[in-house]
């Protein structure tokens, strides 16, 4: 029903641009582009200090103004985007891999294997996300790699739950029984019969969780326990701008806006994708 209305709605709006699709995709493309090309743009490096222009507003020389140390905010936002994007897109992949594996195993096997996987997942969930991320980064040492790993661990339980929930009804299906009767091994059935039928759900969820990861990475940097300075990150920039909030609020607000629009774009796109995936896979389970 919803699928149908959406399809019809989709057809009728083909002529005029769909702003809910164009704006988020456009913004994300812009962020990616800035992150990729900033080194070739005519802007100062993110650590260059221009003492002639401290806390300035946007100008031709400094496109988004400068911070308390006279560093170019555009350059720092673009370099900070690298950290956000790398962590935001790689961490869910860590969660996707291990989470799906555990979810499939816990759906297929019973007994001790299932119980211990479920208890272990609940144990990860027993730590509030940010607290676990902080503890893991503190121990692994603050770097892009360890933040990614820490956030990846954080994402494992939700991926495991989703893949388990998707796998349970699939396992009851006739094609699994057929494969079993044909003598297929457990690994074959799980990877060749069950997994392909849940790819859409998993991919959708991976994209949805990217924004969560970007926010947590931002929080870690904001608290000063994430990716260490002088490498710029959005959370770190927002935090550094606090001391000049009264005189020059744009130092905090520009990276905050960058993060806001990125997270909003991802959420809007994720919502849309999820609805479409649900409509498509609804009949399968």
């Amino acid at each position: 029903m919803t699928a149908l209305t959406e399809q019809v709605g989709h057809l009728s709006t083909l002529s005029r641009p769909d702003w809910r699709l164009v704006l988020p995709v456009g913004w994300l493309a812009l962020v990616f582009l800035a992150a990729l090309t900033v080194d070739w743009l005519p802007v100062p490096t993110p650590t260059d200090m221009d003492f002639m222009a401290v806390e300035t507003l946007p100008s031709a020389e400094h496109w988004l103004g400068t911070d308390q140390d006279g560093r170019d905010i555009f350059s720092r936002v673009a370099h900070g985007a690298r950290v956000s994007l790398v962590v935001g897109f790689l961490a869910p992949l860590v969660g996707l891999f291990f989470g799906t594996l555990l979810g499939l195993l816990s759906a297929w096997y019973g007994g001790i294997a299932r119980t211990s996987i479920l208890v272990a997942l609940d144990a990860i969930l027993a730590f509030p996300g940010l607290v676990l991320a902080m503890a893991l980064t503190a121990i692994l040492g603050a770097s892009v790699g360890s933040v990614t790993l820490a956030l990846g661990v954080l994402a494992i339980p939700s991926f495991a739950r989703i893949s388990r929930a998707r796998a349970l009804p699939l396992i009851q299906r006739e094609f699994v029984l057929a494969a079993k009767t044909a003598g297929a091994g457990d690994a074959w059935i799980l990877l060749r019969e069950v997994l392909p039928n849940m790819v859409m759900t998993l991919v959708t969820y991976t994209l949805t969780i990217v924004s969560v990861m970007i926010v947590i990475e931002g929080a870690l940097s904001f608290l000063g326990v994430g990716v260490p300075p002088p490498a710029p990150s959005w959370g770190g920039m927002i935090s550094e701008g606090r001391s000049a909030l009264e005189r020059a609020p744009h130092i905090s607000l520009i990276p905050a806006a960058a993060m806001f629009f990125t997270v909003l774009s991802l959420n809007v796109l994720g919502d849309r994708l999820r609805r479409r995936a649900e409509a498509r896979e609804g009949g399968l389970s």
């Binding site: 027993a126 509030p128 996300g129 608290l223 606090r242 607000l253 993060m259």
Partner: protein, 341 residues
């Protein structure tokens, strides 16, 4: 004992779900408790092993680079690192059970006492934030659901979507800028203890609690909106209307009650998010709470403090989730199957 048998039996839940007989509440409770104890055991082992994952030796983090071997040995003895791992864990867990988390080697203060001193601030902040989020979400969510599809609904729902995309630290900065710098209504920092001045205390915690609420409220609001909208389409609402009940009574008596179950679960789920948020908010507004203590511990590389705080937070979080689960079970008698699986 029965519960132990049940949880060890893999087919039990499947059979229980298909069978018409409802498993007794007591048996379910015991099974839930076993699961909980297993989770707590893993949590404590993991928190203990956390420090073993440190690259290099734990003692190194307290010493300068070219410390002599005698110095290393002395500090290892001090920290009990010369004992075998299992013995150290038993010591640590035994002490933790008695409420003793040891002393911070960095500041020298007992960790349990430091946490106990800061816990009330955090708890008050969390409670305050939950109340504020409900105060925001209830009226707006009901209104949006009641007028589903209207301009008002679109404004409220759009606002909620936008608010959800703003992390705690962005909301915090915006609220400081707006309410304390531009409008000059509230102080951005300066915590007033409750016993010193209750109104001053509520004032000093208002901005931090509001920051948390701005991120929590949209989640509740969206749930309430869709719940109210779908409930209003149910038959019994039509009946209530036909009986001549006013809109207000229909909304509060009939439409809101089913939503309260989902709301309670959601509030339970959100506590983790709220705890994370309070870590940020306490740091941003310089509140003497547990979250800020944790951040300070991480920054000073005071790993024993980090370990202690993480353990306390995780155990508290697990227990709160258990309470939410129990409350949910008691409130909704229809729930007969095991919600944990």
């Amino acid at each position: 004992m029965q519960g132990k048998v049940a949880s060890a039996h893999p087919r039990h839940t499947a059979a229980g779900r298909c069978g018409p007989a409802m498993p007794p509440l007591a048996r379910r409770f015991v099974r839930r408790l076993m699961h909980l104890l297993a989770v707590l055991a893993i949590v404590s082992v993991a928190t203990f092993l956390m420090l073993e994952l440190l690259p290099g030796n734990l003692a190194d983090s307290f010493l300068h680079e070219n410390a002599s071997e005698a110095e290393v040995a002395a500090i290892e003895r001090d920290l009990g690192l010369d004992k075998p791992l299992v013995e150290r864990f038993m010591d640590w867990a035994g002490n933790a059970l008695r409420g003793d988390l040891g002393e911070s080697p960095v500041s020298g203060e007992p960790i349990s006492a430091a946490i106990a001193e800061r816990l009330p601030v955090t708890l008050q902040l969390l409670l305050y934030a939950q109340l504020l989020s409900l105060a925001i979400a209830l009226p707006l969510g009901i209104l949006a659901g009641y007028r589903e599809g209207s301009t008002l609904d679109r404004v409220i729902s759009g606002g909620a979507l936008g608010s959800l995309a703003m992390p705690h630290f962005v909301w915090g900065i915006l609220l400081i800028l707006l309410l304390s710098i531009w409008l000059d209504w509230l102080p951005a920092t300066g915590y007033v203890p409750f016993l010193e001045s209750p109104p001053g205390n509520l004032m000093s915690l208002f901005l931090p609690a509001l920051t948390l609420a701005m991120v929590e409220a949209p989640v509740y609001l969206r749930l309430l909106r869709s719940d109210v909208a779908s409930t209003l389409r149910e038959d019994y609402i039509v009946v209530a209307r036909a009986k001549g009940l006013g809109d207000r009574q229909i909304l509060l008596r009939h439409a809101l009650r089913p939503s309260s179950f989902t709301l309670i679960t959601l509030m339970g789920i959100n506590i983790g998010n709220l705890i994370g948020g309070s870590v940020i908010v306490e740091s941003l507004f310089a509140l003497p709470g547990v979250g800020r203590y944790l951040v300070e511990g991480v920054i000073r590389r005071d790993f024993f403090t980090v370990q202690g705080v993480v353990l306390v937070i995780a155990v508290a979080f697990v227990l709160v989730n258990l309470l939410v689960d129990l409350a949910y079970n008691l409130l909704d008698p229809r729930l007969s199957h095991d919600s944990a699986h």
